[in-house]
Symmetry: C2
Amino acid sequence: METKQEIKHFLEKGYFEYRQGLCIDCAIFGYHAGELQLLLVKNKIITRWCLPGGYVKKTENLDDAAARITRDRTGIEGLYLQQFKTFGEPGRNKSYGYFDEDKLHELTGVRLAENNWLRAETVSVGFYAITDVVNTIPKADFLSSECRWFPIAALPNLGFDHDDMVRDALQHMRVHLYHYPIGKNLLPKRFTLKEIKLFYEVMSGKTLSATNFPSKLIALGLIVKTREKLHIGAHRSPTYYQFNEKVYQKALREGLVFV
Amino acid sequence: METKQEIKHFLEKGYFEYRQGLCIDCAIFGYHAGELQLLLVKNKIITRWCLPGGYVKKTENLDDAAARITRDRTGIEGLYLQQFKTFGEPGRNKSYGYFDEDKLHELTGVRLAENNWLRAETVSVGFYAITDVVNTIPKADFLSSECRWFPIAALPNLGFDHDDMVRDALQHMRVHLYHYPIGKNLLPKRFTLKEIKLFYEVMSGKTLSATNFPSKLIALGLIVKTREKLHIGAHRSPTYYQFNEKVYQKALREGLVFV
DNA sequence: TATCATTTTTTAAAATTTAAAAAATAATTT
DNA sequence: AAATTATTTTTTAAATTTTAAAAAATGATA
């Protein structure tokens, strides 16, 4: 939503187009230079940082809604989104990080009626995604003052029950990581063994062997040597590796246990 | 719901107590004598067998709702229920296994108005549970003509999107099985190695070694020998084993990888 | 007491994982 | 041009786990 008029229509008549009480929130994890990050948005009328989220349209399913919402609120296209848990604690809409109704009035001229559709209790379906921080262009819309990455180790307190969502999303993402490869979307096309080892350390939150972990990936056939090397000064130049497309796709389909 | 009057009130005024458009469905897996089964209910006004399910009350959270619904619709108390996925495809309420409104009128004297709250599109949060078939007493209520176990290999076609739900529930249950012990609630207090091996075969859908799988469980410390034996005629009497409570609880908390 | 079907333990081979040492490398210094 | 250096990569051997099969144990029955 870009214009004041669009927002006014959404606030007052949104229930024609959207399903009342059904939201989606997305925990988008990013990887860059050895750090795990999370994409958050700051909405002008909500007092805390939150996961990007929104209402589901009557004509779309949950997966489509998650794709649309992340695209519109963060500018990221084609995310691999994974549903992980639904949150429906009564009162979750009125907990930490409430709507600032005066601010809303100031910005849009609208005051929500007592029976406005947005006041209904919501249930929120949580999705998570993993993406390369470099390739994503966070974008704020009219009501969002900011949209940016935070290191996972330095998150602010989030609004509503989004702290719980992040905790659960991270846990689900790591179970996923244990069974399926994800590096192809997050690492450069060519990478050194050190880079992929660091990548898995950051994503899993565990420390891995610098020698045995990479050689396991090689033994599985998941990564293969290229002819190029990285030049890093007065040291042995590490060889660049890349994913073996065939093995990678098979692992995506059938699973494969990593450390 | 036991009486006609309760049902009439639910149909016409249920939206005071229940959240509109938010349901829960539960795939309850049962184990008995080497067979994996699923508990289904046949509602008089729905044309196909379905998973036990119902609407969420405004005052309860999703976990509590799942516990209440399974208790009321099947008579089973204290199930370990696990949320696995939420279903929200538009039109899912009108697909296979629709409401038979004439039948409803015949049974209760009620006809649903055009704008009745039950006509609103629903999203359904799926839960699964695992239980011992022997210890459960399926119970049908006023609108349910029947509630009984079906072998997983011989399920009827289910109403709405419940076929999808069962498929996904089974997949999630098996991932769970791979990481956490569950036998304590489903096997008798004492069991032979052959019994626990069969149990894991049935639950996982895989065949396991008759010698190495049990000895792995012993090596993990998960099961220990008792002093008693089962007498089975002209054969060596197998020793009864039982779970080691301490190791079992630790595995429940922290996970443990089985075959 | 011998036989039998079945459970349980033992064994040895195979495979995998782990930890550490050794070798290779390429820029820099001598 | 040779030696040095820091780092990557390979090799090695030991330890552990898994697998498959054989052997032993058992307890009722003939």
